[in-house]
């Protein structure tokens, strides 16, 4: 599904991502964990086209996508959420979903006039379904900026899902959520996985990562220090060292 090969991104002297290779299968929830600054968000930004790699390749379904602009990558099937919530705050909730929902067609410039002026009528059902999905039923008319934090997070997820991606990138979707909200998010992620969507989940909250992922890669200083199932990762001593420091360092 997604194959990163020898991927690197350097910012001046900082090797944010360094010679990284990862493969994510179809319908798999793949966890990316690692300490702050280990390069997780940079990987997300490389896959969805905000950054161009210093070296290496990004293949989606066998096609090299690292040369595509971000909007083309959405068409190719990659959607994302942001580590810091990003919505069109001064637009109603439903408009935040309306554009994302059909943007693949827009980007291909098929039937542009109909897409531009066709009105929201035929999209309404789908928007309502997305609102239901995000627990925001009946609230489409409110400004996105006026929603509560947890609701905004859910709207962001709905917006990414609206584009019907093959690969969904979630950058710390549970940050700032309470326990119930995290449980609810876990349910949604499992639901999406059932629809055969591949998901990369970047997260610090281990209960969530261990609960929903099929495989996990652990990063440190832009490189992969371990990869395996949640069970394997939990037992690995390398991982504990990366997070907690080597025991002898402490002593």
């Amino acid at each position: 599904m997604l194959k990163l090969e020898n991927l690197s991104k350097h910012f001046g002297g900082v090797r944010a991502v360094d010679d990284l290779s990862i493969e994510v299968n179809r319908g798999e929830v793949f966890g990316l964990i690692g300490p702050n600054g280990s390069g997780k968000s940079t990987i997300v930004n490389l896959i969805c086209g905000v950054y161009t790699p210093t070296a290496g390749s990004i293949r989606l379904l066998g096609n090299e996508i690292s040369g595509l602009t971000p909007n083309r990558r959405l068409v190719a099937g990659v959607a994302r959420t942001f580590q810091n919530i990003r919505l069109f705050d001064d637009m109603p909730v439903w408009k935040n979903l309306w554009v994302a929902q059909n943007s693949t067609e827009d980007a291909n410039k098929h039937n542009l006039l109909r897409r531009w002026f066709g009105g929201a009528g035929s999209d309404r059902d789908e928007i309502d379904a997305l609102l239901e999905f995000s627990g925001l039923g009946g609230r489409g008319g409110e400004l996105a900026g006026s929603l509560a934090f947890g609701e905004q997070r859910r709207l962001e997820l709905a917006r990414a899902v609206a584009a019907k991606p093959q690969l969904l990138l979630l950058d710390e979707p549970a940050a700032g959520m309470n326990f119930d909200e995290i449980k609810d998010l876990a349910k949604r992620i499992k639901g999406l996985r059932e629809q055969d969507m591949s998901i990369i989940l970047v997260e610090h909250i281990m209960e969530l990562v261990m609960g929903v992922t099929d495989r996990i890669a652990v990063l440190n200083f832009g490189g992969k220090i371990a990869e395996g199932t949640p069970d394997e990762i939990q037992k690995s001593s390398v991982v504990q060292e990366a997070y907690l420091g080597k025991p002898q360092d402490v002593a």
Partner: protein, 297 residues
Amino acid sequence: MSDYVVSVVSNMGMIAFIALSAYILLVIGEISFGQQAYFGIGAYISGVLTAMWGWPLWLAMVLGCAVAGSAALIIGSLTLRLSGIYFAIATLSFAEMIRLGLLSVHVQVEIDGELVGPEGAEGFGDIRWIFENDVTPFEFMTVIYVLLVGVLTILFWVERSRLGTVIRMVGSDPLLAQAQGIDVVFYRLLATVFAGIIAGLGGSLYAHFATYIEPNVFNVMLGVHSLAYGLIGGLGTAVGPLIGVGLDIGFLEGVRVFQGYRMIAFGGLVAVLLIFMPRGILDEERVHRIKRWLERS
């Protein structure tokens, strides 16, 4: 209506076009100091076509708009790679280039024993269409407002459409817009061309209302004012820039009390508003609240 009122009201109508033009650029997130160039191009092209070549006004205006739109396409594709202050300076430079270019255009022909045509800094007089066709200032004012209502109707229609939503998204967060599959470069250029056409339309009306134009009419002060109108009135709806025009020309200039102090009052108004209402009186949030209130009642 007295001649004075007709001329002030007509002026407001014509300036509204360039104010809307600058507003469209503000909506895509750019500050342009150069919309006066398209206004000037519309004025000169349509003026030449009616006064020198005897074209009918409507056709001359269509061509004036087309040339202004093409100029916006060319200048836009060069400047839209820039943003912020760099974009502002680049648009100003292009507009000044066009104004200085007009200063050196000398093409006159003899019509009925008189020389007609742009004569550099001397200006371009005798755009006689309005006299030859016995159109009164009042009638011409009506034409201005019919066209203005037409443009506004299109703008409102676009605003409600997906296209309008996409354009606003491009302006408010280009990175997020791209992440939703929007071709940001394409929509920015599209909006810029449309803005050029609208300014061109205002300019071609202006040439035939004033009957005399000169390059210095289209200097940067015109551009700065048109920007200020949207910033005062608000960027949430096309009504915003019209409020700005109404306040400045209708109120400050129309009401003679302010005569002589207009620029001071206007500058103060802009400064105060930018501090307290950075996106103008009718900003996106207020427009949203008004719309919801209208829907309920």
